[in-house]
């Protein structure tokens, strides 16, 4: 179960790895897209499925824990799910229109401080990129005046390319698309993982603590509550086979995606830590109040 639409980033990963998993499992892997509510609808559906290992899903950690916390869902808890593995990593960068003449994060800080630019584009009110916008201002001296909400990554790209809002937040793969347009640069990596597509890019960790607890996502495979460990281990082996396969690695290099395998234990640690890290670093109640004030 992929909680996003056909053709999206997470779906593309799954369709790449699915056929390779079939080789190892000696069975078929059917991809069922259950999009909606920023992946929460599909994850909620997964929660109610049989625990025999026939159904499992991919959730982007910690984005779904963030959504779950912000929506205040009572019916289920992220820790109910059983970990299987993780297979890929992606995350945010900041993209800037070249007319601004900025090449790294410190120059961007200066541009905001000098009033050369006021606005900062993010991917929607209440989106994790919206929280990151606030964190960048509070903790990394990025003094924007208005965080402008767009409807998703595609619109942010367009706003930065056209210069309507010349600075914005974009995932590493979507930043690569924006850079291809010719007048946009990715100037700082907000994740801890290096991005092969931008080897020279500035790192946010040069300016403060890591932001990875909210800006870096693992594509975590999770199973419905109660799914036994031996069944999950079989699935994890198939995911390892697929994610480390030459064919998949070649695809990752060509497309700028990052394939990275984490086993059952790594996935378990990741799931356990994700929500705690968010609670520790983000004051959700204050964030909601600020959104209401700014609206």
């Amino acid at each position: 179960m992929i909680p996003w639409s056909e053709g999206g980033g997470t779906d593309t990963y799954a369709r790449q790895l699915g056929p390779l998993m079939e080789e190892e499992l000696d069975g078929s892997v059917v991809i069922d897209n259950q999009p909606g509510a920023g992946s929460l609808r599909g994850i909620e559906w997964l929660h109610s499925q049989d625990d025999d290992g026939t159904v499992f899903g991919t959730a982007n950690t910690p984005s779904w824990q963030f959504g779950w916390r912000l929506e205040g869902i009572d019916d289920w808890h992220p820790s109910d799910f059983e970990p299987i593995a993780y297979s890929g990593v992606f995350g945010y960068t900041i993209i800037v229109n070249d007319e601004l003449g900025v090449s790294d994060f410190s120059e961007l800080q200066d541009a905001y401080a000098d009033g050369e630019v006021d606005n900062f584009a993010h991917q929607g009110t209440g989106h994790d990129s919206h929280v990151i916008s606030y964190l960048l201002r509070d903790e990394y001296d990025l003094e924007w005046e208005t965080a402008v909400a767009y409807d998703g990554g595609g619109e942010v790209n367009e706003a930065v390319i056209s210069g309507e809002t010349p600075v914005g937040i974009a995932t590493n793969t979507s930043a690569a698309d924006a850079v291809d347009s010719g007048n946009v640069s990715a100037i700082v990596n907000l994740m801890d993982t290096d991005i092969d597509a931008f080897p020279e890019i500035d790192q946010i960790t040069n300016y403060g603590d890591s932001l990875a607890y909210i800006s870096e996502f693992r594509q975590t495979q999770i199973a419905p509550p109660g799914t036994p460990e031996d069944v999950r281990q079989d699935l994890a082996d198939a995911i390892e086979y697929a994610a480390t396969h030459d064919e998949a690695q070649e695809w990752a290099e060509e497309t700028g995606n990052v394939l990275e395998y984490g086993d059952i234990d790594a996935a378990a640690d990741d799931l356990d830590g994700a929500l705690d890290d968010l609670e520790e670093n983000v004051d959700f109640e204050a964030f909601e109040e600020r959104i209401d004030e700014d609206a």
Binding site: S5, G7, G36, R41, G126, A149
Partner: protein
């Protein structure tokens, strides 16, 4: 880069698989067009979910093939049984059916095929040549302009509504209300989202399938037998039709341009362009009285304009995601379903320009197919109008339900098509404008999001829509256009009354 994209597109198009989808699309289009009651939005809406396994190129080509084919298909029913297969062929009836009664049906049908093809080839070529400039225009259109274009589309409700204006406005507002369901774009408020199934609101594709497929089938179910019962004699010369069309280059040119321009206005679509082109043909004729009794020029004008509209309506659809008609609303849904976002990237050589060109080139090929089918199968096309509704209705209904559930596997979508099927059925019965409702449904979110983004950019100042010095000329021009559309007829009425009294 642009030329490279064009050649890349040609390469994609000339593969066996893609060509098959062009042919299937156009043939399906001709069939749904020829069947009164099944318009292109319905045909496209039930095919849409089935395109999921296809590549984006083939999916869009299939949809657009149906759109283009149906514009010609509509003339078959109009000429043979005096019922417009699609509303955009309504003006074809005026002279096409009289020709049919005079035993010249084959001539009328081949005029329709020839005029459709020439207009299609001409307007699509114009669009391809013009496309490098479109990207500049698209980039100049930011959030405030997009909001205003959406409002312009909504203002068009006052133009497209026939009959009671109150009913048209009510339909438009009801459409807007539908878009308020779901999580709000500007705050953390959720509207009617006790169930997570409604979190993202009501899927407008499901609404369209309900309005066009289910509602139409309910209407058809009330009729008995075939859609048309009487047998039609198809006589007259096929070659005569080609000659008659080619003899009227000015009518073809003018009508296809009218189609293209009217088509590019959100909300207007081929139904409007069809009548505008026909009226212009009558106005500019030396013998206006002969229209309505089998004048070939009438058929040429009507059919050239509706195929020209296809090219025009693609401009706002792929540039801004704003539909010119119900058909393009479904086409936009198709783009979104295949992760193609209307906008600048559709014209960007490093983005989706190759796909845009593939789509346009496929339309060129599609128009040639229309000509071939039109001229070779002319005498057999009458059979399409005699299909028994007892077979047609169950097929369409089953496909609609299956397809809708396949969209997102969200059970609420199935409820949506039933609810909007019933709503659509009664809207048509009581003369509420369905297109006004569709405009509301499609444009509501676009307007809301872009209004919010614009006001954030301007720090809450509405001058962002009016101040040409700081924000450019496009917004004030759009505001003038909106005001003219809304108040123009009212002012004109007052002016006329004043002149009379003076």
């Amino acid at each position: 880069m642009t030329v490279e994209s064009l050649f890349g597109a040609l390469e994609t198009l000339l593969t066996f698989e893609t060509m098959i989808w062009v042919i299937i699309g156009v043939l399906l289009g001709i069939i749904v067009g020829a069947l009164p009651g099944l318009g292109p939005p319905l045909g496209m809406a039930i095919i849409l979910p089935m395109t999921a396994p296809l590549s984006p190129e083939n999916a869009i080509i299939l949809l657009i093939g149906i759109y283009s084919g149906s514009m010609y298909g509509g003339s078959i029913a109009a000429i043979l049984i005096n019922t417009p297969g699609v509303s955009s062929s309504a003006a074809t009836m005026f002279d096409g059916y009289p020709m049919s009664k005079q035993g010249r049906a084959a001539t009328a049908l081949s005029i329709s095929a020839t005029a459709s093809t020439i207009a299609g080839l001409f307007t699509i070529t114009a669009l391809i040549l013009f496309s490098p400039f479109l990207v500049e225009i698209v980039l100049a259109v930011g959030s405030p302009e997009r909001f205003l274009v959406a409002v312009l589309g909504l203002a068009m409700i006052t133009v497209v509504t026939r009959g009671s204006m109150a009913k048209g406005l009510l339909a438009g507002v009801a459409g807007l209300l539908v878009t308020t369901v779901g999580s709000a774009p500007m705050s953390l408020d959720n509207r009617y989202t006790e169930s997570m199934l409604l979190y993202d609101g009501i899927d407008f594709v499901a609404v369209l399938i309900g309005l066009f497929a289910i509602a139409e089938m309910m209407k058809l179910a009330g009729q008995t037998g075939g859609i048309a019962d009487q047998a039609v004699d198809i006589g007259g010369g096929i070659i005569d039709g080609v000659v008659e069309t080619v003899k009227r280059p000015l009518t073809v040119f003018k009508s296809s341009m009218i189609g293209m321009i009217v088509g590019s206005i959100p909300g207007a679509g081929s139904t409007v362009s069809n009548f505008v082109a026909y009226s212009e043909a009558v106005r500019s004729s030396d013998d206006p009285d002969s229209f309505g009794s089998g004048n070939e020029t009438g058929v040429v004008a009507s059919e050239a304009s509706n195929n020209g509209t296809v090219a025009g309506s693609l401009i706002p659809a792929i540039s801004f995601g704003i539909p010119g008609s119900s058909s393009t609303a479904v086409l936009i849904a198709g783009l979104l379903m295949h992760n193609l976002r209307p906008g600048q990237s559709m014209f960007d050589p490093s983005g989706e320009l190759a796909l845009t060109y593939t789509m346009l080139l496929a339309l060129l090929v599609g128009n040639v197919i229309i000509l071939l089918v039109g001229l070779t199968l002319v005498t057999r096309l009458g059979v399409l109008t005699r299909i028994d509704t007892n077979y047609l209705i169950p097929m369409v209904v089953v496909l609609s339900f299956l397809g809708t559930y396949a969209l997102d596997s969200n059970p609420i979508d199935v409820v949506t098509i039933i609810v909007f099927g019933v709503i659509g059925f009664y809207m048509v019965r009581y003369n509420y404008s369905v297109i006004a409702f569709v405009l509301g449904v499609v444009l509501g979110s676009i307007a809301e999001e872009n209004l919010y983004t614009s006001l954030q950019i301007s720090d809450g100042s509405y001058m962002i829509f009016l101040n040409p010095i700081e924000y450019g000329w496009l917004s004030p021009l759009l505001v003038v256009a909106i005001v003219a559309i809304l108040f123009g007829p009212f002012l004109k009425g007052r002016l006329d009354a004043y002149r009379e009294s003076a």
